[in-house]
Symmetry: C2
Subunit: 198 residues, 2 copies
C-alpha cells in the first residue's frame, strides 16, 4: 500500500484486523475517520479505551459490565431463582430484546469444544455450580444449537441433575416465519422430535 502514506496505511491495517472488516471496508472506514472533525475522532478513540478499561465481569452472572454487579443482577424485580445459561453477552442481549424473560443469566464465555481444546474448566461452569448453592428453581440452558452448544448443554444438565434443580433446554426447530423448503434437514428433524401436542 505504498500509494497511501504510512499513517493512513497503519490506520487501514489496524481497522482490517477487526472482525468482519475486510480491506475494502477498512479503507472506507479509514477515509471516513480521516474526514471526521478531530473532536469526534478523539471522542471515538477515548470511548474505545474507556470501555475497555472499565469493563469487567459481573460478580454474579459474569456478563461484561462496568460495575461489581450488572444491571440485571442488581434488579430486584427480576426472578433470581431462574437462571438462563448463555455462551456470551451478545446472546444475553438477544434474549433481553424479547422483553419477556424475567429471570437472570449466567454467561459461560464459551462452550465446551474438544476440537478447539476448550474443556469444562475453560468456561464459567464452576461459577455456575457455585450459584446453585443458593435458592434456585430452574436452570434454562440457552447455549447455541451447534455441536459445541449441544455438548455444553448435555454436560451441564448431567452436572445439575443430581442437585435436584430443574434443568431445561430452549427449543430447537423451524424459525418463526421460516419456509420449510429452505430449512436444513437437521433443523427439520429437530423440529419433528420436539413436536408438541395440540
Amino acid at each position: 500500500m505504498d500509494y497511501y502514506s504510512s499513517q493512513i496505511s497503519n490506520l487501514i491495517e489496524e481497522l482490517s484486523s477487526l472482525p468482519g472488516i475486510g480491506s475494502k471496508s477498512a479503507q472506507r472506514l479509514a477515509f471516513h475517520i480521516l474526514n471526521m472533525p478531530i473532536e469526534h475522532v478523539e471522542k471515538l478513540s477515548s470511548v474505545i479505551v474507556e470501555a475497555r478499561k472499565k469493563v469487567r465481569y459481573c460478580q454474579s452472572c459474569f456478563t461484561l459490565t462496568d460495575d461489581e454487579l450488572c444491571p440485571i443482577c442488581k434488579n430486584a424485580g427480576r426472578n433470581h431463582k431462574m437462571i438462563m445459561v448463555v455462551e456470551n453477552t451478545r446472546d444475553l442481549a438477544a434474549y433481553e430484546k424479547t422483553n419477556k424473560y424475567e429471570g437472570v443469566y449466567h454467561v459461560l464465555h464459551g462452550a465446551i469444544s474438544p476440537m478447539l481444546g476448550i474443556g469444562p474448566n475453560d468456561i464459567r461452569l464452576k461459577e455456575l455450580m457455585q450459584r446453585l448453592q443458593e435458592d434456585v428453581d430452574e436452570v434454562i440452558i440457552a447455549t447455541n444449537s451447534s455441536l459445541e452448544g449441544e455438548t455444553t448443554a448435555m454436560y451441564i444438565s448431567k452436572l445439575i441433575k443430581p442437585t435436584g434443580i430443574k434443568v431445561s433446554r430452549i427449543a430447537s426447530g423451524v424459525p418463526v416465519g421460516g419456509d420449510l423448503e429452505y430449512i436444513d434437514e437437521m433443523t427439520l428433524l429437530r423440529a419433528l422430535e420436539g413436536r408438541t401436542e395440540l
Copy 2:
C-alpha cells in the same frame, strides 16, 4: 440497551455511527474490542487519533497524505506531465493497484452535483487549473461513471479544451469477465457507443 452497562452502550453507539456498521456489527466489534488485550486497544485508539491528526492534503494533487507532498507526487520516476483526475483518494488507490499507470493524479474530493448543491467551487478544480500552468501533456478524467461523475467530466473538459492540453476520459463499458446477460442497459449502450475497430 439497558441490558448493557453504559460504557458498553456508549461503545456500541459510537461504532454504529461509522459507515457500513449496523447495530449487529457494532455489537460484534464492541465485544471483540472488550476482549482484546488493553495494550492492543490503546494502540488501535492512538493509531486512529494519530492518523487523523497527521493527515493533510498533498500540496500538489490534494490526495490525503501525511507530508507536504504525497509519495506519488514526490516520485521523480512518475510522468508528471500526465494527470489523472479522480473524485477521491480511494479511486486513486484503485488505479494504483493496477500497477500500470505511470502518471500523477489530481484528487477533486467530490464531484459536481446540482442535486446535492455541490458546484465547481466546492471541489479542487481551481487547484487543477493552476497545475495546468505548468508543462502538462494530458489530463485523463477518471471521475465515476455516475451522473455526477459524468457532469464533472464534461465540465472539466470544457474548461481545459481552450488551453490546448489533451483531455481524455476513461472508457465506460462491459467489465472484464462480465456476462452481458446481467449487465444493465446503460452500460450495454455505453459499450456499444464506445466500440473500437478491430
